[in-house]
Structures are given as C-alpha cells and as structure tokens.
Symmetry: C2
Subunit: 223 residues, 2 copies
C-alpha cells in the first residue's frame, strides 16, 4: 500500500502545491499563478509541479476541478424545501453566492471554460469525448437537473420537455448574471441583487406551465 492508498509523501507534496496555488489564485486571480513563485512558496523547485501535475496546465486543471467541487458544496449546502420551485430558487442564490464569494475561482472556471485557444490546445475535439459530457455528469449540474426533474414531475414544468434544455436555460441565465456582476456592471450591490432576482424570476416563470405559474406566484405573494 505504498502508492495505491492515500496519504503518500507524494500526495502531501501535491496537496501543498495545490493549497499554495489556491492561495495565489484567491489573492491575485488566475494570472497571478507563477510556477516559480509557487515553488518558492512551498519551498521546492518548479520540477515538483511537473512530477505532481505534469505541468502548469495540469495544475490549472486541478484548480478547475477544485472550483467545481466548491461550487457543488455550496449547491448542496443550499436549503432543499419540499417545493421544487423554491429549491430551484435556492440553487440559483447559492450559485450567485459562490460566484461572489469566490470570484477568483469563478473567474478560473470561466476563463478555463470559455476561451477558444484553451479548448483547442488541451484536447483535439476529434469527437473523443466532448466537454459537455464532463459537465453534464458533474454533481453540480446534477443538482440542477434533479430540481428541474422534480418540477416536471409535479407539473410545474411541462412533462414532455427536455430537462437538459430547461436546466441549461436556468444555468445560462444565472451564469450570465454572475458574469456581468463580477465584471463590474453594477452601480450598487442592491441593484445587482435586484437584477438577479428579477431576471431569474423572469426566466423561471417563462419556463413554467400555467399550474406552475400559479404555484410560483402564490409563493412570491406569500413571502
């Protein structure tokens, strides 16, 4: 049980590097991660990054996965009421809270997700295994899908709809809102919060069945 089990010396080195990189990320953003400074911080040389992660790309990928894990934790920490519509609203809020609370991690998720060169350089898109699968099967997305399926099951959303389509609609909207808010397109925090609730409410209402709409409006009026 030298290397197969967890807790080897190598894993300790890996964790130390990852923690230090995480600190650099949170302190100065994705662009502030330098292998040389990272190695100096941990007390080793840059070669450690290559043996542990295979290079800087591997390190960034590890941070990227950690970001998604943190998001998943934030999502699953959200209150899960019996009403799936309220659960969906809580998931949206949790997403925003994560983005605002971990802006550097969120920036990393976006910057590592969006740019064309990154997706080109990393893996040739020769239909090997599209990135979509990687995300769709992630717990973070599964949470959202579960909530959508629950809404469909109770008739708040059309039962014959494609749940992935509905989940993507909500995801894209929430992501766009957080992206713009973090970019600084908000005059005040209150205005950003209002825009978030108004927009997510609008897209959610737009996806509901008449029955679901009635239910949703009873919630918003009650609260």
């Amino acid at each position: 049980m030298s290397t197969s089990s967890a807790g080897s010396r190598r894993d300790a080195q890996r964790k130390a590097l990852l923690d230090a990189a995480s600190e650099m990320l949170m302190h100065g953003g994705p662009e502030a991660i330098s292998l040389r400074k990272l190695a100096a911080k941990v007390g080793t040389s840059t070669m450690a990054v290559y043996t542990s992660f295979g290079g800087k790309d591997g390190l960034i990928t590890a941070l990227f996965e950690e970001a998604f894990d943190r998001l998943t934790v934030a999502q699953q920490a959200a209150e899960r009421p019996a009403e799936p519509l309220l659960w969906l609203a809580n998931l949206s809020r949790a997403y925003r809270d994560f983005a605002l609370g971990n802006p550097s991690y969120y920036a990393l998720m976006i910057s590592a997700t969006l740019p064309v060169p990154a997706s080109i350089r990393h893996k040739e898109p020769t239909a090997d295994e599209p990135t979509a699968r990687t995300i769709a099967s992630h717990p973070s997305y599964q949470n959202l899908l579960d909530a959508v399926n629950a809404c469909m099951a109770e008739g708040s959303m059309p039962r014959d709809a494609n749940p992935t389509l509905l989940a993507d609609a909500l995801w894209a909207t929430v992501h766009g809102l957080c992206s713009l808010e973090l970019a600084g397109f908000h005059e005040s925090a209150e205005e950003a919060a209002e825009r978030f609730s108004v927009t997510t409410g609008a897209v959610l209402r737009g996806l509901l069945t008449p029955e679901g709409l009635k239910k949703y409006e009873s919630f918003t009026q009650a609260t």
Copy 2:
C-alpha cells in the same frame, strides 16, 4: 492640420498595427497576440506599439473597442420591425450571430471584461468613473435600451419598470447563452439554437405585461 486632422502617418501606423493584431486575434485567439510577432508582421519594432498604444494593454483596449464597434454594427444591421417585441428578438439573434461569427473578438470582450486582475490592474476603482457608465452609454447597449423603451411605451412591458433593469436582464441572458455555447457545452448546433430561442423566449415572456404576452404569443403562433 498636421496632427489634428485624420490621415497622418502616425494614424496609418496605428491602423496597420491594429489590423495585424486583429488578424492575429482572429487566427489564434487573444493569447496569440505577441508584440514581437506583431511588429515583425507589420515590419517595424515593438516600440511602435508603445508610441501608438502606450503598451500592450493599450493595444488590447483598442481591439476591445473595435469588438464593441463590430457588435454595434451587427446590432444595427438587424432588421427593425415596427413591433418592438420582434425588434428585441432580432437584436438577440444578432448578438448571437456576432458571438458565433467572431468568437475571438467575443472571447476578448469577455476575457477583458470579466477577470478580476484586469480590472484591478488597469484603473484603480477609486470611483473615478465606473465601467458601468462606459458600457451603458455605448451605442450597442443603447440599441437594446431603445427597444426596451419602445416595448414599455406600447405597454408590452410595465411602464413603471426600470428600463435598465429589463435591458440588463435580456443582456445577461443572451450573454450567458453565448458564453456557454462558445465554451462548447452543446452537443449539436441545432440543440444550441433551440436552447437559445427557448431561453430568450422564456426570459422575454417573463418580463412582459399580460398585454405584451398576448401580443408575443400571437407572433409566435403566426410565425
């Protein structure tokens, strides 16, 4: 009229650099822009970038503004029917067409807009002049605002609403959709197109008044 008028030798150099940088951007993405390669391409030295743009940041800023100009052209080239609701739909489509047709420019807009370090390094946020103003007064955003105001004027959207709030809701949604689509979260182009129309339709319907909703559904049923 040596330097005050247009067409100086200096402006020609600036334009040559900008065009070459634009080509590098479209070919290899934002990260492929190297001052040395750019200077070699134009047939000068890297110092030209410093005299014309003040450095690489200035060059990127110029490309950033060019990206917004191109977006504005695409927006204004969109058909403008008498019905503001249809105009709004056309603006959304034009935004997506621009993003898909100029992915590198779009990536630049996002990457230069979103990351925390960029906004920190560039200008200290000492309330000097928030970025929001810069964007809100841009023709591209004004187009959207005009359409929203037209919808409010005809009663399709609540007349007592904040037009900026409504415009931001649509902008964030469309932006989030394009961002996710360009990131590669689409199994097929058809699926991405369907998701776009479904989501934008949902958020638009969610922002309408009952009268506006009736009008909108008469359009979708007619077409």
